[in-house]
Symmetry: C2
Subunit: 228 residues, 2 copies
């Protein structure tokens, strides 16, 4: 039986689509990336993700998989010959899943909140929230990496992918608002991790370029980056 | 080495804590259920889940696992000798995870929205949203069960647990607002599934009694049921 073709419906600006791309790269899965126009979504996207109508959608043959973290787990469980994405120990898996959930549930909204904030007070509060989130993630890095280079230890894994895909938008937010979120003093582990993550062979060719994200954000005027 | 003790920090009213209890029952894991006073949370809860400060928390020895769906996966991966909770096929797993995500992301908030709605128009809209959610879940039941008695086929699994724990609050909401959400015509699959799920040996002794939930909700006056 011929291998089923793999297509990814995504958008280059989306950190969530980027997760799927990196997971596919990590597993050396040949795939086609289909850039969606988020202002006028394709029939294929609407048909493949009728509930949320959002990117990313992974099409494995004609079967769609939706939601970025679910896609990453699907890729890990389907292409088992590549390096493992989830940790092998159940407790480490639960911990990685918890922080990935936190990133989507709290950290990303706090980052978007900086751009959406109305007035200096609301903005200062949003910045504080994002910084608190990064400090929590710094602690998570220490706990999860166990002295290794990545959240997943010696090689990148689930939580690296979940968080790493936000790096571009964090940097763009720093630049656009002239603030510093990553901090040599408060988040030294993350500062080093960013360099290693962005230089990884599964990441470097697809990682967001900050300048392009800023340009994109400017064309949308004051609109925030996409939340999914 | 002695087996590590298992404790569950929960609250009887919480559908999310109920997920963990059913998963532990399904795997025949001996455990102690510690009822939290949600108005005055214990130091153990605050220490075990410092990020969200919420139930449920599973304590396996001294290691905490937080977030109900993550706990269910942890239980499945840790006590592997019991029946599998997640489907074995990666695509079926992704589908179950997607609908569980949908339940937490959309369906539960729509249910809470019925009680929180201010004015008849907002209430009608919230009811419509919840009904739409149930119709989507009816379709998911047909797709996932593949003709079996449960979402997971012939035995209860991840999505049964994720959704089944909402049954009590759905019924309580129906009763308190004198509405009908489950429907013999529009959700016939779910109507039959509810009976089978609630009668399951891992479920029947811990399932919410609708009357008790209603009584609890009344003591909170117009406050909505807990969202986690």
């Amino acid at each position: 039986m011929a291998a089923r073709k793999v297509k990814l419906l995504g958008a280059w600006v989306s950190p969530f689509a980027l997760r799927s791309r990196i997971a596919l790269n990590l597993k050396s899965v040949e795939h086609e990336f289909l850039e969606e126009n988020l202002g006028s979504k394709s029939d294929l996207l609407l048909k493949s993700n009728p509930v949320y109508k959002k990117v990313p959608v992974l099409l494995h043959g004609d079967r769609p998989v939706c939601e970025s973290l679910i896609i990453v787990e699907y890729i890990d469980e389907t292409w088992t010959s590549g390096p493992s994405i989830l940790p092998s120990d159940p407790y480490d898996r639960a911990t990685a899943r918890f922080w990935a959930y936190y990133i989507d549930d709290k950290f990303c909204p706090s980052l978007v909140g900086i751009s959406k904030a109305e007035g200096p007070e609301a903005k200062a509060e949003a910045i504080e929230q994002a910084k608190t989130g990064l400090e929590l993630l710094e602690k998570a890095f220490k706990d999860c990496s166990k002295g290794g280079a990545f959240f997943n230890g010696d090689q990148i894994g689930y939580l690296d992918i979940a968080f790493g895909c936000c790096i571009g938008w964090i940097r763009a937010t720093e630049s656009m608002h002239e603030i510093k979120l990553f901090d040599e003093e408060k988040t030294p582990g993350l500062v080093g991790w960013i360099e290693r993550f962005c230089a990884h062979k599964a990441v470097k060719d697809v990682m967001h370029e900050t300048e392009k994200l800023i340009e994109f954000a400017k064309t949308l005027l004051s609109k925030p980056p996409p939340t999914h």
